[in-house]
């Protein structure tokens, strides 16, 4: 999008960062308390790495497409 307007990628960054943070936090809670959800392959702790990936991707979009920055 053009400068002066918030890019769609920024909105995506906001959403991915929030989701990533929430899911990772839950995954870490599972990891450290040992209270895992009743799902298959829970031992792989998917919320930690999948949530972490989403968080990092979200942060990348947040920074790269933050309002006011020429993209």
């Amino acid at each position: 999008m053009h400068s002066g307007h918030i890019s769609i990628w920024f909105f995506i960054g906001v959403l991915l960062t929030i989701y990533g943070a929430l899911i990772t936090a839950y995954g870490l809670y599972e990891l450290f308390t040992g209270t895992v959800a009743n799902v298959v392959l829970a031992n792989l702790h998917a919320p930690v790495w999948w949530g972490g990936l989403m968080f990092l991707l979200g942060l990348f979009y947040l920074v790269k497409f933050r309002p006011g920055r020429e993209s």
């Binding site: 999008m1 769609i8 906001v14 959403l15 989701y19 829970a42 998917a46 999948w50 989403m54």
Partner: protein
Amino acid sequence: MFGLLPDLPAAVSASVKGMAFALSAPSLAHLSGLDIAVIAIYFVMVIWIGFYLKGQANTSEEFFMAGREMTAWIAGLSFVSANLGSLELMGWAGSAYQYGILAAHWYWVGAIPAMLFLGIVMMPFYYVCKTHSVPGYLKLRYGQGASFVAAVSFAFMTVLMSGVNMFAMAVVMKVVLGWDLNFSIIVSSLAVAAYVALGGLRSAIFNEVLQFMLIWGGALLVPILGLIEAGGWSGFKAKLAANIAKGAIPSGDYTHMWRSMGHFTDNPMGIHWTGIVFGLGFAISFGYWTTDFLVVQRVLAANNLRSARMAPVIGSFFKMAVPFIVILPGLLGLVVLQNPDGSLMHLVPQNLVTPGSGLHSYNEVLPLMLVRYCSPGLLGLGITALIAGFMSGMAGNVSAFSAVWTYDIYQPLIVKNAKDEHYVAVGRWATILGVVVSIGTAYLVMSMAGIMDYVQALFSFFISPLLGVVLVGMFWKRATKEGGFWGLLLGTLTSIGLWAWVKVDPSALRYVAISPDAKDMAENMYRALWSVIVSMGVNVIVSLFTTPRPLAELSGVVYGATKIPEEEPVPFYKNEFFWLVIAIIVFVALNVYFW
């Protein structure tokens, strides 16, 4: 968008209707507080986007065409996302469980050639003539008659489809989560009405891109974990072969796409390769991807001709990847899904799922896989992706309806020379009206589930003949106004006639699909093919006997009479032809690998 032919298996057309039988069964999943927070955050986000974009939807060009400011990436993702509805995802995953990898034909040969053709060959004409819609293109090429027929049928069908989508979402949310039908309909319609009426096409496009990211974020984990559990692709094939040997699942070739296409009886879909290539790959796929305004509108919003050409090429890569989050989970379900007692779970046709049976249908394979692997938060993300898919399906229909109603019906026929603000206001009200009619349709479908089959068929009547008329008009200078009108009309009547013939006398399928062994899906493909042939043939014959328009009047709309603007040179990696070649190579490689 639910109901469009390239992504519509027979299984899907019956799915919602059939799922209604399961409404009294216990829900598949139970959401935690974290899941509900994930869903709520999505709704806050879409309303925020709608309010934010309101300030950028003040002129008609901004409201209906998103200001023609979309980059190739945004237009491309929106283009492919407009076709990535949740019911298609669930239906095709179910078809993959039932028929194997044959279902991927709808994503590869049934989409990629048409998308690339639109981008490279057709887009320059749509873009150079600055039309606001496909009916608008027909008006420039053939005059008001053909345009009016196309506009009215399209406007009518979009609001119907939006209502079907709304009802489908309500049923799926009821079956998967146990939510009340009315609650789902009201919440989804209010959210869609708010963000499309506020931000117009730009808002719809933003939400489609958002939905695209959510679908990948929410669904990609399922095949990854499924493959880990199955022991990789080779482990999956070994387990599949063992299950077939034990008689645990029906025998058949689940992992090859073309080997069983030699005869109608060699594959469970009852289709011959000619039907797949010419019916699906040409008549249906080209009709949908190149002339359905709902998807073409996204590309028309591109910021320049190169972006408009590039957008479908970019979209084609993601379309080729969709089977990995749709078809693969369906296939993996054949070997990993288990009953609570540890035995292999058998999914069944929808009509066998009755209250108390404890059975699940093919169409539930994707939610079942989500529930199998996704812990709190991730499950909410997967459910949010499904909700986003349904809502953007509705939004896509409503925004396209609003544009066609305002530009192709209201402006030329009702109020011709009003101020621009007037048409923006009409567009906003048309959006709200579209949502209200959609709600009515949703409740109509709820009371008469059988009506869905007719809605599906109705839509299919118009798409393929429109392709015939647009193609002849775009590439043959001699085509006339009368040829276009009669081609569209008789092509549509051919499609209706063949459908009615098979409906009244099912044995007529042997003539329509050229084989007594053909099944329902083959009928759709051959019916589409015949209607394109008739619409093109009639157009050509009538045009030869009527007076063509002077060449000067065809500039911008016909090949040979249009000067395509020269594009600035760019590095090879930004050139659409480079990516076209890569897309073709990947497309061929995928088909060869899964031959």
